[in-house]
């Protein structure tokens, strides 16, 4: 069926038509990023409430995150399947696809986190609550910084990668690294705090708390990877 549609002819010669791709790959990457943004916004709010022991509506949040992950998957598939070898892009196609892949990994981990959190409503110990919330906020900020870096790709493409715009993107990328580093630090602090309470807590709770810290932190790791691939993509 698909092949038949492709064979449909307009009966004219216009070779210039064949030189263009129907959709802009960079726009699709940004479209995919919008899904990340939406997803992280929802999850960021939800997780803070979860940490405050407010589990109302969390299942809905989890469902929304899954839905966004699926929508982003479709964009990713469409983009990846329509980059033939003959397509020439202003950036390395391999690096471009790696950036896309890492951006998609953010959603995978967000979905995993949301579903796992919803499976067992673990009560965060009162004394660890501020640490957990700070950590989550740092991770979300890392993703936000990555979004800024990726968004600047429009200006990069428009100016054909002039120095000024490359510098700007690099500044955003630097910010991603900085925030990711802070999130890591916070995670170690958090883990230390959990171990300090291990005698008081139920072992299953300890296990889940440690896991939550890891799952949340994974998101920042992949945001950093996106930034790294972006950096490689725009390198001269």
């Amino acid at each position: 069926m698909k092949k038949k549609m492709k064979k449909e002819k307009n009966h004219f010669r216009a070779p210039v038509k064949d030189t263009f791709r129907r959709k802009s790959p960079f726009n699709q990457l940004l479209e995919h990023m919008e899904k990340v943004r939406e997803c992280i916004d929802i999850l960021g709010d939800g997780i803070v409430r979860y940490y405050m022991r407010d589990y109302k509506n969390f299942s809905e949040i989890s469902e929304k995150v899954s839905k966004l992950e699926h929508e982003a998957d479709l964009i990713k598939g469409n983009l990846r399947n329509h980059l033939p070898n003959t397509l020439f892009m202003p950036v390395d196609k391999g690096k471009f696809l790696w950036a896309l892949r890492e951006q998609d990994a953010i959603l995978d981990h967000a979905e995993n986190l949301a579903v796992m959190l919803d499976m067992r409503h673990t009560k965060i110990p009162k004394e660890l609550q501020p640490l957990f919330i700070d950590h989550a906020k740092l991770v979300m900020k890392t993703v936000k910084a990555m979004e800024d870096a990726v968004s600047n790709i429009r200006d990069l493409v428009e100016t054909s990668f002039v120095k000024r715009e490359r510098k700007q993107t690099k500044e955003y990328i630097y910010k991603v690294h900085e925030l990711e580093y802070k999130a890591d630090k916070k995670k170690y602090e958090l883990t230390k705090g959990i171990y300090a309470l291990e005698k008081k807590l139920d072992p299953m709770d300890v296990y889940h708390l440690l896991k939550i810290a890891d799952w949340v932190d994974d998101i920042a790791d992949h945001a950093e990877n996106v930034a790294d691939w972006l950096r490689a993509m725009i390198a001269k």
Binding site: T19, S24, P84, V162
Partner: protein, 406 residues
């Protein structure tokens, strides 16, 4: 009279086909970049193709009618049949490949058909191989030239505008200057060695002087028009594109003009050879291409744009919306300059292929988000197919006609 009428009808059909396909192909960049609406494109293409055909179309027409087949020593009657056969053969192949959506060129079809007729009418010595060699070389060189020119002009735009701290301020000056260069090329093409210049008694120096004056005036007007445009904050690339959107209206006229100057020959070249024959003169005589014939070709192209060309332009324009005005400008400039220079040199080249070359040039300059290079292969295949098929068809039709007419 009957022969001339029939031949003119086929020529008109060829012109129509050129107008509806090739013109639409070259104007689509302006439509895709939203510099002009497709309605405006149809009108611009119609009018400027006509002007280009009438005023600068004679050089290439001369090549087509006298440069491919050496007519000395061939019987007038045979020549008459031959030119008609090649015109019909080219028309058939163009129609067929258009139906199949192959990126063939009307130019290649006509030259192929003429070579075929030359071979059958007078043997290998009747084809002016040196000239044919030049023409074929120009087919390879013209897309490359379009590619290089578009690459360079885009790089200049990046370096002098986008790389600057205040891109809008730079664009207000650089834009009109590049555009002035365009005006210089158009005007000098009109006044250098054209029927118009000999009619008005303009020698080369005066021609160049007029062109320079016009170019300077265009630059000054441009700078005055853009003077009031203000930068809306930092990194205001949209305003830069807005400036180039206005300039691209001009370059799309340039494309249409150059196109008319080059491609009208494909339609009327063979007829231009037939007319003196039918009137009893010999082909070799220095008969100028009659204005009414150039006008007929230009008119056919214009009608083609306004009929089938509307659909083509709209479809292609919708396909290439990712093209912005600075890119569209570069493509237009690269392609049109190549085509115009070739027209002045009397080389019949393919406009469509040159446009594709220019698009690839901007892509290689990191100006486009994605360029599909597979089109190159398609074009090369169409090159290799067109020459033998057009020549073969031409030979077949020639033989049939000769048996019928006797």
């Amino acid at each position: 009279m009957l022969i001339m009428g029939g031949a003119s009808a086929v020529a008109f059909y060829m012109a129509w086909s050129i107008g509806s396909n090739d013109v639409a192909n070259s104007m689509a960049t302006a439509v895709g970049a939203k510099a002009i609406t497709f309605r405006q494109a149809v009108i611009i293409a119609g009018v400027l193709n006509f002007i280009g055909a009438v005023f600068v179309g004679s050089h290439v027409t001369d090549t087509v009618r006298k440069g491919i087949v050496n007519v000395t020593g061939i019987d007038t009657h045979v020549l008459l049949i031959g030119f008609i056969a090649s015109l019909i053969a080219a028309a058939i192949w163009v129609t067929l490949s258009t139906w199949k959506e192959m990126p063939i060129s009307t130019t290649h079809s006509v030259v192929g058909a003429l070579v075929g007729f030359g071979l059958i009418a007078g043997g290998t010595s009747s084809v002016i191989w040196s000239k044919v060699g030049y023409v074929i070389a120009s087919w390879v060189l013209s897309p490359i030239a379009g590619c290089i020119l578009a690459f360079l002009i885009f790089k200049i735009i990046v370096k002098t505008i986008f790389a600057k701290e205040h891109p809008v301020k730079a664009a207000k000056i650089v834009g009109p200057i590049i555009f002035g260069f365009t005006a210089l090329l158009i005007v000098s093409s009109l006044f250098l060695k054209t029927p118009l210049s000999s009619k008005c008694n303009i020698d080369e120096m005066t021609g160049i002087l007029i062109a320079v004056i016009v170019a300077v005036i265009v630059v000054i007007i441009g700078i005055i028009v853009f003077r009031k445009i203000k930068e809306k904050g930092k990194e205001d690339y949209a305003t830069v594109e807005g400036i180039f959107r206005k300039l691209q209206i001009g370059t799309s006229c340039y494309v249409a003009f150059s196109h008319g100057a080059n491609d009208v020959a494909n339609a009327i070249g063979p007829v231009a050879s037939i007319i003196p024959l039918a009137q009893g003169a010999t082909v070799g005589s220095q008969v100028e291409v009659p204005y009414w014939l150039l006008a007929l070709g230009g008119f056919g192209i214009a009608v083609g744009c306004m009929t089938w060309g509307r659909k083509v332009m709209r479809t292609v324009g919708n396909r290439i919306t990712s093209l912005t005005n600075t890119r569209g400008f570069s493509v237009d400039f690269g392609a049109a300059t190549t085509v115009l220079v070739a027209s002045k040199l009397g080389l019949p080249i393919s406009t469509s292929h040159t446009v594709v070359g220019a698009v690839i040039g901007v892509g290689l300059a990191r100006g486009l988000e994605a360029v599909d290079l597979s089109v190159i292969k398609k074009i090369i295949v169409s090159w290799l197919l067109t020459l033998p098929i057009a020549a073969g068809t031409s030979i077949a039709i020639f033989l049939i006609l000769r048996t019928i007419v006797g």
